[in-house]
Point group: T
Chain length 156, copies 12
């Protein structure tokens, strides 16, 4: 590619860290999808299914983008575990509203890291990666909006 070796290293590093978070967030979103309960069961079960599908749809595109800029990408469950910054939640029971709040924060953290990766792409002149990140950030902000509003009580 037309990118420098530095660009390959920095962009790959940033995207792989984002990818690890995406996998971790996917598992947590499905975790809550599978263990949802309460009168909103079906509605939230479907909400997290849709968000899970949207999150999963990013994985192959992020990984293949790393390959296109000349880097190597994630290789295993263990590799994800070492890179992920979004924490696991293995609790036996999580209250439905707490599920939504925790995912809202996790998506917020993901959006922040995507923005940092975008800055790195900008610095390194990788305009194609930057363009893809813009779409993913928009989607992430949509997930945050849904999770935020579903957690609001009255005009707060």
């Amino acid at each position: 590619t037309a990118l420098s070796a530095d660009a390959t290293r920095d962009v790959s590093g940033a995207l792989n860290a984002v990818l690890a978070d995406i996998f971790a967030l996917y598992l947590k979103t499905k975790n809550f999808h599978w263990h949802m309960s309460g009168p909103h069961f079906r509605d939230y079960h479907l909400l997290l299914d849709e968000q899970g599908q949207q999150i999963f749809a990013m994985t192959d595109d992020v990984a293949e983008r790393v390959r296109k800029v000349g880097g190597a990408t994630l290789r295993s469950i263990g590799h994800i575990a070492r890179l992920q910054r979004i924490p696991d939640n293995d609790a036996d029971y999580v209250d439905p509203q707490d599920m939504l709040a925790e995912l809202r924060d996790d998506n917020g953290a993901l959006a922040l890291r995507m923005r940092e990766a975008h800055s790195i792409c900008d610095e390194q002149g990788d305009i194609a990666s930057a363009s893809l990140l813009e779409t993913w950030i928009d989607e992430t902000e949509r997930r945050i909006w849904f999770l935020f509003e579903a957690g609001r009580r009255g005009n707060a």
Copy 2:
């Protein structure tokens, strides 16, 4: 459900262990899909993409089956890492033929564990889980056949 508490515990345990292996195998299959090289690049890249999709398609069905029998299922990347029996392969470079051979063996191990889970379902009278496993075993044996034949040289 009509199943005993023992059945819930044993079937859930067996299916969750299988599920962890499915996630681990999915990541490895994608790992090799992403890092394939050599003159067969496109052919093997597509082969592993198809196998990856088939493997991934099982995950939600296995997890929801655990929920239907009254158990709890996987919750996180870390949870997978603790339960998986299929080993990670984080090597920088793997020869294409070695990739196919390793996946053939991993799928073989998965088929074996699915058979064990099937026995547990049979013992516990969980005929619906058993029926689902029969389809997944057939698919796994198809992946093994493809990987086996692609690795044969002459009439060996």
Copy 3:
């Protein structure tokens, strides 16, 4: 067919009784779908619509299976009324949560009777009917799971 006259009689009898319950459960599910109320109106209205469609989709397959094993199947509304074991609920008003709870129990009863029919098929060597029942049991257990979780309050 290769089945004995006894098999035809016993399998037909078991499947027709299950079929009568399926029709009775279908009507009750639609009853609650049509008369739903309260803040969860749309969500539960849709839930029961999906469950109603899944229940209805079984009817033709069960009836035609009876014909394939050489038996005669249901003939009328009155015939259903005489065979059904799932009780009607003609109350003017049913609380939404009570609707879900009642359907959960009715589906639980249906699953039990499908298991009994499965045993009869096994004894009579009718492996094709048994295989179909396994899928229908899995679907019924899914409906139970949804109705159960939607009725849970907190970690109970």
Copy 4:
């Protein structure tokens, strides 16, 4: 709605009676579909399947129309049995031509009752229900035409 309490009562009453007949006719049509025999087996089996599907497709629309005018609709198999005017036919064997003739008469009776319901809607100013009934009458007259011509012998 803009309809009077009288309109709600009369229109609901007429539509619910029609709905009970539709369910009874559906079961009889399927009964004959399942127990058809003779050299025209496939042709008549399919004819009654198509008619059964067309009849069934009305059920949800009729019931929801009752709800839209503010009434309550059918609740159970027993409720249908109490309201239906189309008689059951539980005979062990019915000659194929007799099946078609009986359904032709039953559809004729249904068309008549739909016309009566249409008059009630007209009187009560329920123009939307009336419009729906016009389509259902047209479909019913089509079923009658098919059943009539299939029963004709020569230029009679």
Copy 5:
């Protein structure tokens, strides 16, 4: 057309007033769709999206019907504002249940005006416009039913 000049004037006038209300109701429905909040967020967000789509689907048909009877139809946002009878609601925050109640009333007002337009078509012999209005009234009464039941508390 075969209609008199009076018919063109009166039918066009009635349909254009209805059309202005449809646009005003569309904007309000989307307003509440965009600013929904609380634990029912996704469910109500989708409900209003579906209702908004159904309302919007009428606009072109109403306007083109006016053109077919020889009249001129709406021309601008300002034109809508001058004709609309459904009031705007520009409040910063509206409680979710109040949103549903307000839309229920607005749809009720719309149904009433569609009935008045139907009477005018009847008087002027415009049977085609009348037939279209019957379908739109049925749809409007369905929206009212959904909004009414979602606002009910207990057997009230």
Copy 6:
């Protein structure tokens, strides 16, 4: 059917005459579609194709409606020729604008005859035929609108 012998005779007569006109108009519309010329060739060629398809789509529905009310319908090209009131135009060359104007008038005549048929249905209580005619009149008035506006010059 529930219609009287008079109704069958009068409704059939009116619908068959309309059907003959529909066939005649179809042929003329295709005639002009095939022999269109000039700078608007493609646009008018497509316009008449769309109108021809819409006109043809009525033929089977009109004829089968006659059969449903118990009458006999058209039998041949010669039968059409004897009943049609829309005149043929076998001229070697017709100016494109004259084509549109002639079709506008022919569609106008058709709409008038459909209205007359609608009156007969009303008198005879054939509410299903009347309902179908309302849709066909709306479509015919749409064709007239298109042909009229395409023939306007300036604000005339």
Copy 7:
């Protein structure tokens, strides 16, 4: 086009005569489709519907082919009536088997005339028209086969 004026005249003449027969056969096929009766009603009703659709599908292609070779094509019902060689059958009642036999003969006559048209195309070097006729002859021979076999009794 590259064809001579003679070719335009002769090919157009032959195709227009075939087209008139196609329209006449279409009407007769629909006539019998609409007036079918007897125990095979649905089967033959569908058979003639399929054949009618296949026949109708030729009309636009034949007419446009005439235009492509530089000729003018059919203009009206009356034009068809003057050119058609397939006779009308306006009888009040035709026996179902006689319907099939008459259509078999009419299709046979059509196939013969298509072959004659093919010879003319061959002579005039119009290879594209010839190629289209080959497909239409194959379809016509299929209709003949169906009508012939449906009329056979025993090994005759």
Copy 8:
């Protein structure tokens, strides 16, 4: 695979014999489809076409299942001829009712052999092959039901 060498040999042997019968039955079903005659021509022609497609759809799945259990499958027309147990019927003319009766018996024989193969799979622990056979037996029993009822005369 996890199966023993004995299992591979016995399951492959049983499935290959079934596969040879499937091919032989496919050819005979198409033979009768191609040479059907008499007033039921279209109905039976379609019936055998549908059955032929269902039978053919099994071939690749059976053959690939043999490969998945580690065996070799059929190789040629001659190979089929040597293994098939369903007899050919090369008669010049077969009466339509005799065609249906012969196919009913052939399908009955096929169902029996599939049951035997199922027993072998059960003994050898090949649960995936067994599961597939259950579906194929159900389909075969459906073909038998259709062929049986089409051959019944009166209440026999």
Copy 9:
């Protein structure tokens, strides 16, 4: 979101103003679509229909983008009227060429305001909104191109 309160205010303000213009332009485009006349009627009627659909497709995306950045969006017809900068045109008759010219200018103004909104997003670091605006500007420039070329006369 990661945006500052200033960003929320400025981006929301810019996007809401653009959204008001989009609604105003949508109504005007439909106005001209409904009142088109002259020999180009169908062609321009379709052109404005396509442009209207493209313009309308933006509305929900713009409004939801405002919500994702934490702002409130448009609430009513009156709100649009207060914010819109594209002027209404309520003239009784507009010449077709003048319609195209006026829309060309209005789209030009819209493109300019989208560019201004893009600058604000850039300044505020809202890269996702900026990315969406780039697509909408491209679409707007396409509408301008079509309207410009359709208004050209000769090589001017």
Copy 10:
């Protein structure tokens, strides 16, 4: 049909011989598809699957063409075995490159025989069969091209 008895006999004979070869080639192509091995496994497995589907798609069309010209067609596996000229290959192991080479030659032989059949159709004036054969020859030559190029080594 318009064909002579000689034409029926000669064309049927030629097409039936071609059909027998098509079935034999289909089985051999599937044989190699099922028993493929080596590093090109997936690629060649798919190649032969596509070719097998294309070959199979001819069978019904060839057989029905024989029926349309008035002949009888193939009846059984044994009938195929007696007429086929393409030899079986029942070897336990065939080298992948030898598979491709053998199929290339078999397809070459098939193309030759199709050309001979085409000559017979030409002589007998069966232009419709000839036209169908032209398409099948083109497809066969495409299979040959693929198999030839896949077997080339360097610029040979």
Copy 11:
């Protein structure tokens, strides 16, 4: 293939020359599509888009046909430029009517050359290439018809 070396050379030569013209005509058609102007802009822009798509759809089929007869086909832009006989038109501005007239003549020239290629195929016994050319000639003559009629003024 069964063709002689002469056939390969002559057919390839003729088809490659036609292919070069097809590419040249494609570029010119798109050139005029891109640079269209005037009141017919949209209509002609779409006309040339449809024609361009139809022309482009031939390219792969022609080239692959050359390969199937054993020849080599076009290799580059330069290769096209050396073989094309349809002249480029790089003028800055072309009047819309002149565009249509020039394309009409170019398509006429292409049709002529396709006929010459057809003669060569006939002489060389390449019946499959000849059959394909017949379809392409028909399509070309359709493009000519459209372009001719769009250029006619009055009855000229």
Copy 12:
């Protein structure tokens, strides 16, 4: 548009040069697609078909973008030949691996020129063209990745 005359000139110039390269690369990709040989024939034939389709899909979008910014675009094969920087390769035989290597380099050159065009767009404030280029660069880098990996031997 809102762009300056300089922007129109510079952006058009850059995009037209890129477009000429795209057409040249398309022809070369198809050249190698058509003349591929060797054991990887099908795999590489398909690879280049996919890449060819992706490359071709850009052509209309690039050309229309030039028109939207107010420029003129390519007009002919000769125009492409004069602007293209990707060299033709008219060699009689090219080794498959050399084909892939040459295309990898050509795509690399194209990506570079797209980046240069992107810089020009940035300078001239043409944000919409820039956004489109980002997607095309990503696609081009994907083609390079595939071609690069397919050419790797071992861990080089």
